[in-house]
Structure formats: structure tokens, C-alpha cells
Symmetry: C2
Subunit: 331 residues, 2 copies
């Protein structure tokens, strides 16, 4: 492995499991905003998870859906989008910057899923560069980005051509000199292969969503899946950890319900880290702590802090332990 | 009334009810900390509620209990207090500044009540002066403090003599020139009377907790109550609003379960504002919105924002409406 030595920090330890703030802290603040990221870092959680698309200018921006969602987006005049917005990939940087993503549409199902999320009019879709510059500043030296690069094998119109797309993302990371504190993750493993070609030293996390009988899921891992870029589970005894490790991956990112103790052990045997998504309910958090994953990706980082403390654990390696405050404030 | 014209802003309007972030935002961040206050202001909530005691030097500090609580306080060495700490009123400023109030003790009942509260080692009990200086700075011009002055008629050892205690608090407020954006509240109406004597132009909020059959409550409003400084409910037809108004109060602060539509109407007829505490559950928030109180004091300001939006309402007067972002960020 040619990953940077800092990568070792992302493993769990006898007394700690890492917390990754999902889209910042979606349960508390508008998702994928600088304010959400700052909050998560501010409470002493060192890793934020985020999603990338690119504008028509190729600029990597932090947003989750290929089109702006009517449930979380308002126009300049303050009115909610009436339907799915234009493709991010068809907007200029300036056009995108005019939309307000500081809150969820009242009464929408999506809003009801996050009943404590604050409403902050005026927030904008950040550039990946904004966040990289934030963490390159003083006070953020120990923070990490878990960057999900969004891409869809059946919807090439959502993104630039993959080599160009990945090149733009990596150059933003490189320019801010934060490459040693980044993990790249994707459900579309073509992206991970492109990352490996262009910047092999940045660790790659293989996101997986496994078919189950019901309800239907937008799964990515099955035989002949276009998401897997030609890889075959069957060729690896149906073991995802074996497949990922033999493909040169460093991290496995399964849906938490899909993870078994056996698979976790297999991942460890293969030298993989395991970061599970997206773990919000108490019982699920407990199960992930009991399994002892490396990282818990959650919309409620404060809630996972509390569960870890109740187990006599923390969320940072000993040199950053809870007993040695870093003095990180929200400001 | 000699209250400043700004006070009118604290009334509810046809489309807004004010949110007061209780102890900052106790559901999300450690209570009564600058970080909690900054968070609440950062999400666009303009009023924070806080509690005052004074050190043995007479310095007003922001903390809720007469003694440091073992459930929320650690010593300099990181260990939890094993029992109730010393009286705040017996500590020097320096001694108090050494305690860490950045989180709740794992496994304690108090911690379990706030399962999402972040854990931030290294936070200190702030001085009232710290917060007053914060809100006197640029970007905080529209914010308010709802300052609860703690005092106990049967425990004079908890506080300096009342005239001195109140004088110190008011001079801190005065020095920062934020007196026009402060409400003073207390369960101990001797304090309110002392405030009226020393600085009558600052509005006073009469906190009430009414006896109910069960469970037992630490009530302050009953005949011959030492909390009421000689005032008699019976002399006012058992109407708290009548009593408070005739005593020169501007605000009534009842426990939300105690408030009826009739009493709210009586308060309005008497020209009183009504701010209810502490409203965290969905059904209770709904009831307070339906009643149309002036202010909702809550540990979960984001949650109350959402409930208000679902009613087509907001939490700031029209000139600060959600459609006209102020650009307040968490930083």
C-alpha cells in the first residue's frame, strides 16, 4: 500500500471508534454546507463525510443529488423549487451559487425525517475547494474528509467524463495540500479505479449496498453490476472484503444493516478498514460499537459521542483523547 | 412602562413566535456555554436564555446550579466530580475557571435526558461579561439575552446580598451597552424587585411554577410563598397575570404545562408578554404554537424552527424574516 502514514489514524483502537459526520451533521444542520462541517469539527469530531458533483464548468461542488432537490432548495426569490431542478452538471458556477440550500421544505417527507435540523436561510452549495481551504487552516490540522464522488453508470450526463471529473477533484485536493487527510469513496467503482490511476496514494473506500429481498433498494453490488466496473463477486467466493482487498482498496463502506461479524473479520484479515453508513438509531449505533467497526458515519455525531462514552470509549485516537482537549471551538 | 422601544420586538406577531434557546441549545451542545450560545445565534435564533450565579468575588457567571453538578463537571485532571461541588458563591473566579463543563457524565440520568448533546472537553463556565461582549460585537446587533438570575429565599448563602448581586449583574450589562436587548427573569421575585429599583427600564419576567397535586414540584407560586416577596395571589383573584401586571412586570414566564388559554388572554389584556419554559416535545411545541405565546424557551431550537415553519410561521419579526437572510453563520 502506498497510502500516507496518516491513514493508520483512521483505524479504530481498543478504546476508540471514529465518527464521520454524515454530510456534516444532517440531523442538526443543513446537509453538505460549510456551517454543518464547521459544527461537526467544532464538537471535536475529526472526520466529515460529503458528496461531490461538478458544474458544467467542471468545478467540484458539495451536494448529494444529480439535480437540486425541491425538498431542500429555494430560488433566489425565496420560493421552493416546484420540481427537480436542473442537472448540477448543466449549471454554471454562478447559476448554482444563487440557490439557497439552508433548509428543508416544510411538510415534506424529507423534512420530517430530520425534525431537529435547523433552518438557516442563505446557505449556498459550497465548492470542494472551500472545504479543502477550511481544513488547511490553523486549528483543523487533525481533521479528515471522507469524500464521496457521485457518479451513475447509466447516467453519464450527471457528470463530466470520468477522467476529467476525477482530475478536477484531485487537483482541488492537491492544491490545498490536504491529500494526506482525504479518503475517496464511491458506489461507482469506475470512479475508484480512475482515482487509483491518477492518485493511487489516496485511500479508496468501496461503498456497497447489497441486494435483499425487500424492500427494493438502489443496490450496487450484484453479478454483472455496472457499478462494479467488471469485478465479480463470484470470482471472490462472494466475499466483498476479499474482492475489495484484491482490487487494491483500503476501505470498505457497507450499509450498516448489511455488515455481519464474519464479514468484518474477513475485512480485518484483508487489512481493510470498515466505515459503515448511515447509523442514526440507538440500537444500530450500539450494534456497530459492539461489532467494533473503524468508523461510524452518522447524521447525529453528538449522539454517537454519547453512545461511545457510555461504553467507556471515545472517537479519537489516544493522542487526541477526550481527556486531552484540543480546544476546538465551533467558531 | 419605561422599557426600551426594542422591547416591542419580543412580542409575537401574526406570523411569528420567538424562539429562546434554553441555556443556549441544551439538546445539542453543553448548556450555558459560549459555544452553545453561538450555535443558537448561528442558526438564526435571536434570543438565548441563560442562568446566573456569582463567584465569591461577586463576578456574575453563567451556570444553572448553586453548586457545580457531578453530572456535568470535571476537575482539571479530567475526573468527574464525585459529589456536588463547592458553592459557586464560595469559589474565586480562578478556581471556577478550572472546571470543565463541556459534557455530561456518561450513564448519568441527566446525560440520558439529552442523548444528542455533543461532548466538548475543555469548555469553561463563561462570565456574563463574555456573553455580553459577544452580543455587543458586529453581527449580533439583533440578538437578545433572557437572563435568569438564580436566587433562593431559603438559601442566602447561594448568592451575594441581593442589592450587591443585582448591582454587579446590571453593571456588567451596562458596561457592554446591551441593556436594551436584555430581559431579566427570576423565580425569586425579590430579585425582580431589586432590578426594578436599580434599573427599571430593563423588562422583568416573572417565572412561575404552580403547585399541582402530583408529582411534587419545586413550586414558587402559592400563598405566603417566600419566592413572591410578599405578594398575594388571593389579593388578585388568583390571577397570576393580574398580579404580575399590577406589580409592574412586563413578562410572564410560566411552565408551559401550567398555561391555559384563559390565562394567556388575561396576560394579553394586562399588556404582558408570555414566554413559556421549557418546551421540547412535539405535542407541547404544537400546543404553544396553537395558543400563540410570545416566546418558546426550548432546548431544541432547530426543532421549534421546523414546527413553526410547518405552521407557515417563523421565529423573527418580518424585518428579519426567513425570506431575508441575515447571513449569520455559526462562526
Amino acid at each position: 500500500m502506498r497510502t500516507p502514514p496518516e491513514f493508520e489514524e483512521l483505524k479504530c483502537g481498543p478504546r476508540h471508534i471514529h465518527i464521520h459526520g454524515h454530510r456534516g451533521a444532517r440531523g442538526i444542520l443543513p446537509e453538505n454546507t460549510l456551517e454543518g462541517f464547521r459544527f461537526t469539527f467544532g464538537i471535536g469530531v475529526r472526520i466529515v463525510e460529503l458528496d461531490i458533483f461538478a458544474t458544467c464548468e467542471g468545478t467540484p461542488v458539495i451536494t448529494h443529488n444529480p439535480r437540486l432537490s425541491p425538498y431542500s432548495t429555494r430560488s433566489e426569490d425565496g420560493s421552493w423549487l416546484q420540481a427537480e431542478g436542473p442537472l448540477i452538471s448543466e449549471l454554471t458556477d454562478l447559476e448554482l451559487s444563487r440557490f439557497d440550500v439552508g433548509g428543508l421544505q416544510p411538510g415534506s417527507e424529507y423534512a420530517n425525517r430530520y425534525p431537529d435540523q435547523a433552518f438557516m436561510p442563505g446557505l449556498r452549495v459550497p465548492l470542494l475547494g472551500d472545504l479543502c481551504r477550511m481544513i488547511s487552516a490553523n486549528g483543523y490540522q487533525d481533521t479528515w474528509l471522507n469524500v464521496e464522488i457521485k457518479s451513475h453508470p447509466m447516467h453519464p450526463e450527471n457528470t463530466p467524463s470520468l477522467p476529467v471529473y476525477v482530475e478536477r477533484i484531485l487537483s482541488v485536493i492537491d492544491e490545498a495540500e490536504v491529500g494526506s487527510r482525504v479518503v475517496l469513496q464511491s458506489f461507482d467503482w469506475r470512479i475508484l479505479h480512475e482515482c487509483a490511476r491518477q492518485m493511487p496514494e489516496i485511500p479508496r473506500s468501496y461503498l456497497t449496498y447489497t441486494p435483499k429481498p425487500n424492500p427494493p433498494r438502489p443496490v450496487n453490488v450484484y453479478e454483472d453490476s455496472p457499478w462494479m466496473d467488471g469485478l465479480s463477486l463470484a470470482a471472490h467466493g462472494n466475499s466483498l472484503p476479499d474482492l475489495i482487498a484484491s482490487d487494491g482498496g483500503q476501505v470498505w463502506g457497507p450499509f450498516h444493516h448489511d455488515l455481519t461479524a464474519e464479514d468484518l473479520a474477513a475485512a480485518r484479515n484483508n487489512g481493510l478498514l470498515v466505515n459503515v453508513w448511515t447509523v442514526n438509531e440507538f440500537a444500530d449505533i450500539e450494534r456497530m460499537i459492539d461489532l467494533k467497526v473503524d468508523g461510524i458515519i452518522t447524521d447525529y455525531p453528538g449522539r454517537v459521542q454519547r453512545r461511545l462514552l457510555d461504553h467507556g470509549m471515545t472517537w479519537t485516537p489516544p493522542r487526541h483523547s477526550a481527556a486531552e482537549p484540543e480546544g476546538v471551538a465551533i467558531a
